[in-house]
């Protein structure tokens, strides 16, 4: 089957609607959240209609079926990521933000000889291109433990500056937490040297894969990383579901984060001990229907093939970058070729403020995002307080890119009147 965005779009009910007085919806905001195919929406509502019950608890048929469905979703995720330890390595959270906070808080709960216990003199390394979700939790963990935050800076072209890798990832570094693909620049970071250096000093590597897992094959075993997080809602899945993957032995050593039902082994009024991984990290009745929906989303993507999704997006990115080069006054924020680059394309157009540009694009049916894209330090480092971002996905095609380009030209005319 050849890759056809037009056919794919037929699986997504939202494309049957129009926006702004009958205009075709040109959705270029999948970097914020993706649209959902029928199969995902039906998996979630099917759970409620046919199998709804609390998992791991009730002694009845519905509870058995719900548990099966939920644990099957865990298996699907583990296979999608090629988790070496299987489904025990998959923890369901509410979004990637929670996954990263889970890690930071759990490390903060570590004491004594636990490998995750942090103290003054220890170091956590991030980069200047982090989303706030992979920056502030680590800032706060440093504040609580006395550890120090270090970071890779970003080159003017929007690449990680790895020239001083050994003095950024020092011998005292315990955690290296990086975004796999920048949600602003589209940059995909090269991991080999970073992982090698991190492991050489005994640090764990945490990957914020929010913008990579939805868009390209990600094999955690091959990448040799230690933890990874992504969000269901950016991966064709439901809202309210995220994933934390971690190596089994590391998850076993990591203290728990949220406390409550189903994560315990034994409880008295004054003390408690913990269940095994992954139950240890899933307190309370979980987001069952959403996990099932995420399973359906990953099945949908697997059927199309992540290699195919990625090639499609790279080709489309090349097409759009090429077209943008023709627009006078348009300045890219991020790499201007497709080498190690995904389909998040940020830009500025003359002195039209991104918020105004976005508003005009919206009036033409073109949905983009504007602002600092939750990466304010990056915006400051590049001296681009705000930009406009178009982000591509499997349901976009050249006509969407053409519509964007056409609307940008229109905006220049509209705001140039004065």
């Amino acid at each position: 089957m050849s890759f056809s965005p037009a056919l794919i779009r037929q699986d997504f009910p939202i494309f049957e609607r129009t926006v702004r007085e009958g205009k075709k919806l040109v959705y270029l905001d999948s970097g914020a959240t993706s649209q959902k195919p029928h199969s995902v929406i039906e998996a979630e509502s099917g759970f409620y209609k046919f199998h709804n019950a609390a998992v791991h608890r009730g002694a009845h048929q519905l509870a058995e079926e719900a548990t099966d469905a939920y644990e099957n979703a865990r298996l699907i995720v583990s296979k999608f990521l090629n988790a070496p330890g299987g489904s025990d390595e998959i923890i369901f959270t509410k979004n990637a933000t929670e996954s990263l906070n889970l890690l930071a808080y759990s490390m903060g709960n570590a004491e004594g000889t636990n490998r995750f216990a942090l103290k003054a003199g220890d170091r956590i390394v991030v980069s200047e291109m982090e989303h706030h979700a992979n920056l502030i939790p680590w800032q706060q963990l440093c504040a609580r433990t006395g550890a120090e935050l270090g970071w890779f800076s970003v080159t003017p072209e929007g690449r990680l500056d790895l020239s001083a890798i050994d003095s950024v990832i020092t011998a005292d570094t315990k955690v290296v937490a990086l975004t796999h693909q920048s949600n602003v620049l589209g940059t995909i970071i090269p991991l080999e040297a970073i992982v090698a250096r991190a492991h050489a000093v005994g640090a764990v590597v945490v990957l914020d894969a929010c913008q990579s897992v939805p868009h390209m094959p990600v094999d955690v075993a091959a990448l040799e990383i230690d933890f990874l997080s992504f969000s269901g809602h950016k991966t064709l899945g439901p809202t309210g579901i995220g994933v934390l993957w971690g190596r089994k032995n590391l998850l076993d050593e990591l203290p728990p984060f949220l406390f409550g039902g189903s994560m315990i082994e034994y409880v008295t009024m004054t003390d408690a001990t913990w269940a095994m991984t992954p139950a240890k990290f899933e307190a309370g009745v979980p987001n069952m229907a959403q996990a099932v929906g995420l399973g359906a989303a990953l099945n949908y993507l697997s059927e199309i093939g992540m290699e195919n999704v990625h090639s499609h997006e790279v080709a489309l990115t090349a097409y759009l970058l090429e077209a943008m080069r023709e627009i006078e006054g348009l300045k890219l924020v991020g790499p201007n070729d497709t080498h190690l680059r995904g389909g998040a394309i940020s830009f500025m157009v003359q002195d039209i403020h991104p918020h105004d540009l976005g508003q005009y694009l919206d009036s033409q049916g073109v949905a983009v995002r504007t602002g600092h894209h939750c990466a304010w330090p990056l915006a400051k480092a590049l001296n681009v307080p705000a930009s406009t971002r178009a982000s591509l996905y499997l349901y976009n095609d050249e006509s969407d890119c053409d519509a964007l380009v056409h609307a940008i030209v229109g905006a220049k005319k509209y705001f140039g009147r004065f």
Partner: protein, 146 residues
């Protein structure tokens, strides 16, 4: 085109030619407000003579709506008493909350009625209020220091 109700000529005019921009060297109070969802920033200086707003100056960056709004606001409030300013602020806030159902009270708001169209765009109401919220804050601070 609905967009034209947002981008009134007077708004784009103030955006291109902002009034009272450039911070005064002395002030009774200085406040800095940001719109965290888009990164817009405004610093506002206020000077009082008794109950009279003798000077409002500002600096900042942001979209046409936020910049024009603070420009028009400083024009409008300079020379007014704090009580008058409170009435104007209330009238402007009500207009922003009107979801496009009000045209605004031109006697009170003067040029600021150009923002009536903004109230139909929920994503932009914060932009147009940024400067006004800074003013509210600055006025309280300046008064508490008297």
């Amino acid at each position: 085109m609905q967009l034209d109700s947002l981008y009134q000529e007077v708004i784009l005019d103030h955006y291109k030619h902002p009034q009272h921009k450039g911070l005064s060297s002395n002030f009774a109070a200085q406040v800095s407000h940001v719109n965290a969802s888009c990164g817009d920033e405004i610093i506002l200086n206020i000077n009082l003579e008794g109950d009279l707003i003798s000077e409002l100056t500002w600096d900042g960056q942001g979209c046409s709506i936020s910049q024009a709004s603070v420009s028009i606001m400083t024009d409008l409030l300079t020379g007014k008493t704090l009580d008058q300013a409170a009435i104007i602020l209330k009238s402007f806030s009500d207009l922003m909350a009107s979801k496009g159902t009000s045209a605004g009270d031109e006697l009170v708001l003067e040029d600021a009625i150009a923002f009536a169209g903004v109230s139909k765009f929920p994503g932009r109401i914060k932009c147009s209020l940024l400067g006004w919220m800074a003013f509210k804050d600055a006025a309280i601070q300046a008064q508490s220091r008297k």
